[in-house]
């Protein structure tokens, strides 16, 4: 297992252990904050273990990225950023002209969704091409 994956798995296990310790020793004084901390640590533990073990299972000792994939990732982020910028500009104009109103949470949710979807689609498309100019 690569060092990086070991660190991820270790952090995940440590978060889990802290959550279990809190559950055992702080069970009598279960305030809302203790409960929140336990939930956070459990989720973080699952995420880190999944990242460490999952990436090890997918890549094993192979490199995760090389010069070609780094170029693709950089262009993917640029596309994602540009599309998101255009989307936010359009949303601003629509709001200003009273055509379409959104709450802050809706606008942030939509922005994040578009940003992630564009990045995934662009990466899938660009990885099928050999090179990007």
């Amino acid at each position: 297992m690569k060092k990086e994956y070991k660190y991820y798995t270790g952090i995940g296990v440590a978060a889990f252990l802290v959550a279990i310790t809190l559950q055992i020793f702080w069970s009598g004084i279960d305030t809302i904050w203790v409960s929140r901390i336990k939930s956070f640590l459990t989720t973080a533990g699952i995420v880190f273990i999944a990242l460490g073990v999952g990436r090890h299972m997918i890549y094993k000792e192979k490199p995760e990225e090389d010069e070609r994939t780094k170029k693709i990732s950089a262009l993917t982020l640029s596309y994602s950023w540009i599309v998101t910028f255009v989307l936010v500009s359009v949303l601003l104009l629509l709001d200003k002209w009273d055509i379409f109103k959104m709450t802050v949470m809706q606008a942030l949710g939509l922005t994040m969704f578009v940003m992630i979807v564009v990045a995934i689609v662009a990466e899938l498309y660009l990885k099928r091409k050999g090179d990007i100019e």
């Binding site: 192979k62 490199p63 990225e65 090389d66 010069e67 070609r68 994939t69 990885k127 091409k129 050999g130 090179d131």
Partner: protein
């Protein structure tokens, strides 16, 4: 540009996976290199030629 990675790979009985491992890139990069669809950096071209015990100009032949 004519690329002779495949010929040299066959000469040394190396798979794309073996070459990728030697050079430190993903197998797909070697696939695109062999097909002539990816222009490598000078650094990668040097590493590939070194792994195949040849020179860059023997691996990548530019035709006018």
């Amino acid at each position: 540009m004519k690329i002779k990675i495949k010929e040299f790979r066959a000469k040394y009985n190396l798979t794309q996976e073996d070459l990728a491992k030697k050079v430190g890139v993903r197998r797909e990069t070697i696939v695109f290199l062999e097909k002539g669809k990816y222009n490598p950096s000078l650094n990668l071209a040097y590493k590939v030629s070194k792994a195949l015990k040849t020179t860059i100009d023997e691996l990548f032949i530019f035709e006018d």
